[in-house]
Every structure is written in structure tokens, then in C-alpha cells.
Symmetry: C2
Subunit: 335 residues, 2 copies
Amino acid sequence: MDSVNLKKLSSILGLSVSTVSKALRDSYEISEETKERVKKIAKAYNYQPNIYASSLRKAKSKTIAVIVPRIANNFFISAIDGIQEVAQEKKYHVLIYLSHESYEYEKELVQSFASGRVDGMLISLTRETNDMEHLRQLVNNGIPVVFFDRVSTELDCSTVSTNDYESAFEATEHLIKAGCKKIAHCRISNKLSIGQHRLNGYRDALEKHNLDFHSKYVVKCSDNDVEDYKTIKTLLKDKDRPDGLFTAVESYTLIAYEVCRELGIKIPQDLKLITFSNLRTAGLLDPSLTTITQPAFEIGEKAAAELISAIEKPRYFKPENIILKSVLSPRDSTN
Amino acid sequence: MDSVNLKKLSSILGLSVSTVSKALRDSYEISEETKERVKKIAKAYNYQPNIYASSLRKAKSKTIAVIVPRIANNFFISAIDGIQEVAQEKKYHVLIYLSHESYEYEKELVQSFASGRVDGMLISLTRETNDMEHLRQLVNNGIPVVFFDRVSTELDCSTVSTNDYESAFEATEHLIKAGCKKIAHCRISNKLSIGQHRLNGYRDALEKHNLDFHSKYVVKCSDNDVEDYKTIKTLLKDKDRPDGLFTAVESYTLIAYEVCRELGIKIPQDLKLITFSNLRTAGLLDPSLTTITQPAFEIGEKAAAELISAIEKPRYFKPENIILKSVLSPRDSTN
DNA sequence: CTGAAAGCGCTAACAA
DNA sequence: TTGTTAGCGCTTTCAG
């Protein structure tokens, strides 16, 4: 019950291997008649080409890798959804890897791609990634890379991200206009592009509105819910606690909701909350949550489209830094 | 700047290709001294084996495929997370495909795996899948398959699922005990194992408690939010509308929340709600949502572990039907 | 302990 | 229009 290969097929057909191969790939060299006959038999025998043989031969695999820090995250999920959408359309296969925010593992993964396992790679960097050497090597090996969301512009690669600085600015201003005077920010690692941009937007909005920047109001959160819970609880237990909180990442806000319940802090009366988030249920929360939503699906689509262009038209491809816009949706948590 | 291959490496080392190959794979035939020398140089040149060549040769790729109906779904995400966890540990690569509930596409995908692109496959079936022939063929080709959640026991393959019948029974009983007399059920396709089990559990619980089964209270939902919205609205607008609703799938309940807001139906006073769900924010909703939560991550882990056993120990492997238990978490929506 | 050589299944020159 | 053949990079006999 083994699957047929070209050789068997050709002997069944009484043709040479190469003729069959060409016929199946619609070569102009083969007569219509033969093509038809070959395809019919191939179908009848359910012939499936061995992709390892053809990839080896062509040095192309129609496969791309996607590395994300984690998958249990609404943003990355939607991005992957978008990536899949265009990959499927363009007949690419998608290998998914989770770096779990480990630079070492990211490096190992990226290096393993150098030998051509994939035709290209999409990546959202870990919080720890400083050094781009592993990525540079991959690119030098002729394997295109496209960054999304957590990007680096150090390399000559396309990036797809959002207007984080502006959004953070807008979010902070939104809190100020809602009457907040003491606005805190839960930031994400400043090794990340998004960490810096979101922090800067926050700071500049404060400055514009003549509010002091207090370092005690800027807390660094991690990737660990338990730790973040402590961090946020400490922040909100302070006697001089903030009256507004802008968080760089959805999970921090969900933790803040829990902490507020526990401490009896009322949202939005005592504390107004806004966050970057792709939560589907933002509008159903108690109270409903004001969000800045990134166009995650489109980011994924764009990134995949860029990558596939880079793979298929290496001559004409020009790397670009694509910026998509996020949307602020005001809800009750800042009312 | 091309990546080195075995041949280059061996000429650098002044050894034969086969010696280098063996040394890198720690063959007992090679002296420790040589091994060390080889590995050192291999590392220095960042040698990465060409996976297509070795897969072709060994007819093994250390790659598995995962087919899920969709990815934007908390259950499947967690399951994939679990799959990744064990795949990574066992050094397997994971290709992800979305069937988008299309049987035709599922079939096409499965067939394409026959030639050995992957060493095994994990699948959660589409709502349309009736016929198992494509899967049977794959298995006959020597490529192991493991089902998870949306399973079929028609083939001699492992399955990993949850005690859906009992959970549905328990959920319905939970509503009855909360005082509901007219309990509706939003069901999912009864081509699916889970669709049948959840409906049966619902029906039997009604029967046990001497409540009539009304077909008008059982509505079939789809995969389309807009349609489901209409369906659920019709159900809840009825003058003889239900006072309890048990939905087979998370998204139906989120829609029900929205419909209730719109129609001014108060949860839980006017309508009590319970659903299968892996929503992280169930406890933060307004009102908090009573859920039956499937151990999605563990399902993924188990399924992947089964698959890898089937791949690596074909002789000793015995397919099993593994059932994990879901947990009912009572919250305000049924209070 | 090391090396030579065959061949996995396919593609693409080149020949016929 | 079809066929012959070399070879992609690796693993694995088998010989030395």
C-alpha cells in the first residue's frame, strides 16, 4: 500500500520518468494528449510527489517559518491567522515555532533554518533579543526575513508594525482628557521596538499636558502572570496610587482587573484603564474595556505577502517599513 | 556566503563525507578524537544539515502536521500550545493548517501528506466531514493519525477527547437546579462527535428531570457569526423564550451576551447561560460566565505524545481512546 | 576506524 | 515531442 512515485507511474504509463514529470507540471514540451493521459493515471493512483526529493532538487520548499514569542495571545493568533490566509492562497506551508521569549532558543531556531528548511521566515522578536547576528546570517544565506510587530530596523528587511508611538500618545491623552492626573504605565521590555515606542508616547503625552513623569508610575512587567500580579498589586496598593493606567499589553490589564476587584478599587471611578489589546470580549467585560486594537490580521497578511514577494521576486524586491494604524475604542473603563 | 554542506566540510577536514556524517551523528565507528575535531569545525562553520536531503534518504522528516478547523478559537489555540510543547521537546517540527470547516480542503490536505511530507498528523475534523476515506488512506500509507476533540472512532487510531456527554448533562442539570424550566441548546453540527454527545447529554438531563424536550429550543448554529447572531436573536425574541441556555461552543454564548444587551434581557435574572468555553476572561465578563472548560492544553499534549509514540514505536503502539475531564466553573451567569 | 559508492525521488540539461 | 542522464546532499551498506 505504498504511495506511488514517478518511476512506478512512468512504467505504468510506458513513458520515461522525465516525460511524466514534465507532463505533471504542464511543461510546454509535452503534448496535450500525453499530459491528459498522465494526469489521469496520476490521479487514479493518487500520486503525490515526494516533496523532499523535489525540494532537494529545486532548493525551494514552499515552506515558511513563523516564530512568535507565544501563541496564547490574541494578537499573535490573529496575526498567524492572517499569515495562514495568504500562505494558503499562495500554496505555502507554514511551520510555527514558539520562542517562549528565549533569545537562546530563537537563535538556535534561526540558525537551523540556514540550510534551507524554509524559503523564508517571519519573526516577532523575543523580549531579550539584542543582537541581530543570527538573523543577519540567515539573510546573508539568501533566506529572506520579515519582521512583524516586534521589529528591528537594523537589517535590510521588511518590517510590518503599527503606529505605536502615536497610539500610546493618544491613549495617554485619552486618560488625561478623562480627568486623570496620576497616570501609570505598565511597560514591556525596552529591548523591544514596541516597548520603547509605547513608553515614549506615554511620556510625551504627559509632557504635552504638563503632567510630571514619575518613574514610580512606570513599572516593568514581565512574561509571568504571577510576577506581574505582584508588580501590579504593589502599584495599586500604594497610598499615592495612580488614577489612570495605560498598559502596553493586554495581559497586564486583565491582571489589573483582578487586582482591582480584590482591592475594591472601582473602575473607572477610582482608576481608569486603557490598554493595547485584541481581546474579542473587551466590550463584554465588567466594566467594558477601552482598548487600542492593532490590526493584527492585516499585519499578518502584509508580512506574509512581503515575505513571499521577497522569496519569489528577489530581483525586484525592495524592503519596506510598513506601518498600519491601530484603533482606539473608548469604552466604560475610561468613562 | 552559501551554507556549508557535508562535502565542503569533509574537504576542509581532509576526511571522507561518510566519516564526517557518521562523526556528527556520534557513530560508534568513529574515534573520539575524530568526532571532536569534526564537531568543532562543523560548529565553526555553522554547518546545518540539509533537512531535505536527509529526509529523502531516511524517509523521515521529524515533522508533524496539525489540521484544525480554525485558529481564532481559544480551545484550538491552547491545544496547539500543548502540541507545540511536546513537539518542541521531542524535536519535532509542526506544520499548521486551517481547514476552515471545509471538507474538500481537509481532504486535499490529507491527501497531500501521503507522500511523506510529514511523519504523522493530528486532526480535529471539520463540521462537514462524513467520510473517512482520505484518512484511512493516509493511515494505510503508514502515516499515523491521531484525532483530538472532534474525533472519529471509525479508524484504528488514537483519539483524545473530553467527557462531553457527561459535561453536557452536568451543564443542563446545573441550569435545572438553578431553577430553569425552559432550557434551550445551541448545538454544533451533529456530524461531529462533540455535537452528538453534547446534544445527547442535554436531552438526557432534561429527561431525567422530567422536562420536555422541545425541538424549537434546540437551534443549530453555524460557523458564521452573522448567521448565528440571527439564529440566536430569533430564539431569544420569541414570546415563549427560554429561561436557560446551554451552548455547545463559546462563540455562541458571546453572541448571546450581545443579543441580551440589545434586547434588554437580563442575565441571569431573565436568562441563565452556560457554555463550553476556554475563555480566559470568563470571570471578568458582565456578568461573569459559567463555563465548562476543556483541558485544551493537556488534550494537545496527550495527542502529540500519542502521535509521536505511534511514529517512533510503530511495533509496540496500541491506539487508545483517551478521555480527559472538563471542569464546570459556576459563575454569575447561572446564579 | 575510515572511505568508496549506491541511491532516496525528483528536476532539468541535453540528446535524440 | 520524448528520453537519457547527472546530480541535489545526505545516509548507509560494504570494503578496506
